[in-house]
């Protein structure tokens, strides 16, 4: 009995080994794409939404028999790697995807805090990367291998400033931002210079906080003392929920203006009625969408029971861009290194793209030039389209 168990073990081992050896043979007919996502950490909703959109896309392609490149159909394979919403983990995840998983391209990371360092890693390792949601200019700057699907902060900052001055009739502004987050810090500075360029009035308070902070009362007391017409908060949704509540507790009654990092259904879950009536700039508005955007939203809602946030839509567009890049390449090289080069050239040759977050043209940095929308948080907690701003 013991002997036969032993033999069975050997047999199982042999089976596993042979299976492992067969897999690379299959690999020739699949295209492996990596995802560098924040599935845990500060912004897990963002990773989750991106993954759901990716799963939907994957199913579409593979159920249709695969992606046709150069007359042959290839199955897609998606590998999801968690970057814990941390910069250093995002670099590790990118390296793991490139070196161990041998992916031909990477989508993500979403937040600039992770996308700026991970973009450097992908560029150095000559692996194409598309970030869906990062708006910081440094992510793609002088990095020929890095692309993006979102507009840039130098565009978003002035949009927020223009909108607030028109809508609130504001003369003075205050800013509260996360100093250890590239996205938040960069956007706060861009906003400040955009606001001061308008010449209406100064930025009366420019306060910062750390990522793990939960108490903002000292900063908010300083801001409220300066008596601004509105407060600009380019922060992640979880911090926004605390900031808005604490500002109201300290007696602030004026409006807030947010940025695209507010655009998560979780904002309403965490912030509740305190956030109603405020505005933020973002990539698309789910309420009142039409055409392909509406089809995507309806399908996503049917599959997952929730409205897709902007990062889910941008992930969808990023995959669309990548698919176009692969098809532009015209053939699939079994060597991942060569394939990466082909895909990069394919991506660089895209001049314009019609995605569900709007039409965009690409400049020489690989950055899209596209419209932003400003949405209002309605009294039902929905993100309602307010105005569209195009470059």
């Amino acid at each position: 009995m013991k002997l036969s168990l032993h033999k069975m073990g050997l047999l199982a081992l042999a089976f596993v080994l042979s299976f492992l050896m067969i897999v690379p043979a299959f690999a020739a007919d699949t295209i492996k794409i990596g995802f560098n996502l924040p599935l845990t950490g500060d912004i897990p909703e963002v990773g989750d939404g991106s993954k759901k959109a990716a799963e939907m896309y994957l199913k579409d392609i593979n159920d249709a028999g695969g992606l046709e490149v150069g007359g042959k159909k290839y199955q897609l394979e998606f590998v999801y790697m968690d970057n814990e919403s941390k910069a250093e983990s995002a670099v590790n995840a990118a390296l793991k995807l490139i070196e161990q998983e041998n992916v031909v391209a990477i989508i993500g990371p979403n937040s600039s805090k992770q996308a700026v360092p991970a973009g450097g890693t992908c560029n150095d390792n000559r692996c194409p990367m598309i970030t869906p949601w990062s708006t910081n200019p440094d992510t793609t700057k002088d990095r020929p291998w890095v692309f993006r699907a979102a507009f840039l902060d130098p565009f978003q900052g002035p949009v927020a400033a223009d909108f607030a001055s028109q809508k609130f009739g504001a003369k003075t502004a205050a800013v509260l931002f996360d100093v250890s987050n590239d996205y938040s810090k960069g956007l706060a500075e861009i906003f400040k210079s955009a606001w001061e360029k308008k010449g209406l009035g100064p930025v009366v308070a420019f306060e910062s906080h750390g990522t793990k902070d939960q108490d903002f009362s000292a900063q908010l007391t300083t801001i409220i003392k300066a008596n601004p017409d509105f407060i600009f908060v380019p922060d992640n949704y979880n911090q926004v929920a605390l900031i808005v509540q604490q500002a109201r507790d300290l007696g602030y009654k004026g409006p807030f203006m947010g940025s695209d990092a507010w655009g998560t259904p979780d904002l309403i879950k965490l912030c509740g009625e305190q956030c109603y009536g405020n505005y933020f700039s973002t990539h698309y508005a789910a309420a009142g969408a039409a055409g392909a955007t509406k089809v995507f939203i309806d399908r996503y809602e049917k599959a997952y029971g929730s409205t897709p946030a902007d990062y889910a839509a941008l992930t969808w567009d990023s995959i669309g861009l990548l698919v176009q890049g692969i098809q532009n390449a015209g053939k699939v090289d079994p060597n991942p290194r060569k394939e990466r080069k082909l895909i990069r050239d394919g991506l660089a040759s895209i001049k314009s793209f019609d995605g569900i977050t709007g039409k965009s043209k690409f400049d020489e940095q690989g950055d899209p030039i596209k419209c932003a929308v400003v949405v209002k948080i309605s009294d039902q907690g929905e993100f309602v389209f307010e105005q569209s701003v195009c470059p």
Partner: protein
Amino acid sequence: MDFIIQNIINALQWGSFYALIALGYTLVYGVLRLINFAHGDIFMVGAYIAFFVAGFMLGPALGLSPMATFLLAVPLTMFLTACVGVTLERIAYRPLRRKGAHRLYVVITALMCGLILEYSNLAVLGASRLKFPELVHKTIWNMGGVTVTNLKVIVIVAAVAVFVILNFIVTKTKIGMAMRGISYDKFAIPLMGIPIDQIIVFTFILGSGFAGLAGLLFAMSYPVLEPFMGMIIGWKAFIAAVVGGIGDIRGAFYGGFLLGFIEVGVVTVFPSTYRDLFAFTILLIILWMKPTGLFGMPQSTKI
């Protein structure tokens, strides 16, 4: 002027949480000479217990009003969090104590327990944050430009009350005398017929129970819960307890408020990046001048 008073109130609220958590550190250290690094995570567990207790009471099964929920949630959260603390003592610290392990190993065990609590929470509940329901209807009082909410008053009053209660227990009751006795000499004390294990369990009940209260109040003040919320605040409260003189109840109380005042004060004057740098430099200077902490005394009975 109102600006300064407003910041004093901000600091009092923030310091209250440090003080409440530091009291738990100091109690356990005073009795066992054990730095219970899991204490910050017991605080986090307290906040989550409060979340589920409140959710259950507000939910369709009972349908209580928010105020009744708050009044019932306080003792229930404290009780359940105390159970978690006692369980840790039972499965982690007591076996090591029985085997006569060196204190270093017990401290490492405490660190492990904290990580286990954090990651089991992450595994069970996921990374998504939870929103704590509003239990106390918030009233904002505005007095000449200074705003105070009723919740802030509750938090500050609770911190002072907990300090007074603990001080009374430790200095005026028999069980408190036994706690001080164990702190003084844990080998001689059993010879006096004092049940050392029971006293230690009682210490954990007190420390964890008040961590649960802190968790509940924290979740009400900052209603966004995540599994790692106890980590940094726990470390800082521990430092506050050390600066106050760890093992001394007054030390934990004043140390907590001192740290709260320094942090809020630094952020008021400087950019927030300097907060921890300045705060902990000041604390380091205090320790240079008085290495035993403000209220600590070298090699003597504490608590």
